[in-house]
Symmetry: D2
Subunit: 154 residues, 4 copies
Amino acid sequence: MQAPELAVSRWFNTPTPITLAALRGRVVMLHAFQMLCPGCVAHGTPQAQRAHALFRDSDLAVIGLHTVFEHHAAMTPVSLEAFIHEYRLSFPIGVDQAAESGPIPVTMARYEMRGTPTAILIGRDGRIRHHGFGQEDDMALGAIIGTLLAERAP
Amino acid sequence: MQAPELAVSRWFNTPTPITLAALRGRVVMLHAFQMLCPGCVAHGTPQAQRAHALFRDSDLAVIGLHTVFEHHAAMTPVSLEAFIHEYRLSFPIGVDQAAESGPIPVTMARYEMRGTPTAILIGRDGRIRHHGFGQEDDMALGAIIGTLLAERAP
Amino acid sequence: MQAPELAVSRWFNTPTPITLAALRGRVVMLHAFQMLCPGCVAHGTPQAQRAHALFRDSDLAVIGLHTVFEHHAAMTPVSLEAFIHEYRLSFPIGVDQAAESGPIPVTMARYEMRGTPTAILIGRDGRIRHHGFGQEDDMALGAIIGTLLAERAP
Amino acid sequence: MQAPELAVSRWFNTPTPITLAALRGRVVMLHAFQMLCPGCVAHGTPQAQRAHALFRDSDLAVIGLHTVFEHHAAMTPVSLEAFIHEYRLSFPIGVDQAAESGPIPVTMARYEMRGTPTAILIGRDGRIRHHGFGQEDDMALGAIIGTLLAERAP
């Protein structure tokens, strides 16, 4: 399945907005999280940071997506900014755009994510190659990334 | 040194406000934290929750204190309430009262805490018996608690 | 229950044999283990080493007991000596004396241990105050040690 | 560099001896360890077991190599067999052949390994593609394996 475009209302850690269209030809790891989700803070977000560091010189782009679908008043961009600062996160992070109605933000709905953390891997051809909910094994994730990086751009 | 009284602007997880005066005769573990402090979330706060569970049937009272001294707009009581919910914290937690001037809240200043997490242990006689900043070893903390619980009330 | 005396065929990390009788008045932590028991290597034995370091200046004596009750040919004193060296264990360790018949060594049988690791805490009066099989929580163990150290010698 | 052939005096967990020659066309992960090496027991060996499970249905062959270069009397095949049993290791493990002189066994010398644990990855073409000494990061290892599996057999 072709990966839907991101809908982001605000970016952190990037001078310009990021689109999947512009990343075509590269491998993308999308890390959807909420700053007050314990499984994200303990596992998913540090894992995304590790992937960002490990594959820094490769064609992998690690992108965070703050998909707030609960406790909206508690996880505002102001709080997220402090979270990013305190946890020393250095990969680009976008705030998933609030829906016109309902608690689920736009990108989260487009990808039919079940919750946070969610890890999505997109191949050089822009197609979704992995969609995982919950704790991901480092070695398994590394193997998928290695496989996707080994593919030729279309 | 006699433990100064708490100055709390709002309580969670307790039907009535808590004072050290009323706890005299019991041992008190004071866990000062900030919800966006990584060392608190990874170590200090889970440790306080474990102590609360382990010594539930003893004379130990575990009390959390949200001592916000930075990123004030990011760690409001609304955010703290969601944090407490998401991390399933069940021990009483007070919001340290904001100072009339300056970023350091009142109780934090009274105890001359250096940052978060801080663990303070108060004996049955109301005196401070341990004041630790940073990550505390579980076994060492358990030993202090065991020693203080073994003392007779004055 | 009064703690039975140790039956040890060989000691490591001590210039002279150790007896519980000679330790009367002190608190004793007995760590029964096997060098090829995964739960010992991962949890119990490092915990005993931590207790040995933490309570070095106290009245606690940490004593290891190699209670081989399976794979006897694989866990000889020669192998144990290399294990102690490689894992940098510095507390005294005795080899539990082989029984005249049957696989269970003498001290293990006297204490009716169920397996390894087993942690036994003996008070200043020589009585067994805690007998735990399997993984012990650091904080709980610390609390028991703190309580026992707080007691007066008989 | 072409991977030198294994020299093994005894195999566990395989009905027939294994040669790299027979594995040509597959990816091979060679995990060199010693049963009394703490870094192996805590990290390297469980990691090899995880790789064995994770890539069970792939073209990766995980092979253990017991490269005893110290404490030879403490790490005999009898001890190794108990170790394999207790740690529930299910991948094939060979005992590196003792040298005619000197403590370093034959395969360890052929690969010029610096110690244990050592992880070596061999591509489908039989060439060494990774040679790492010490603790390996799961994600990095997974990425190398994924990349090598993505290559076509020669």
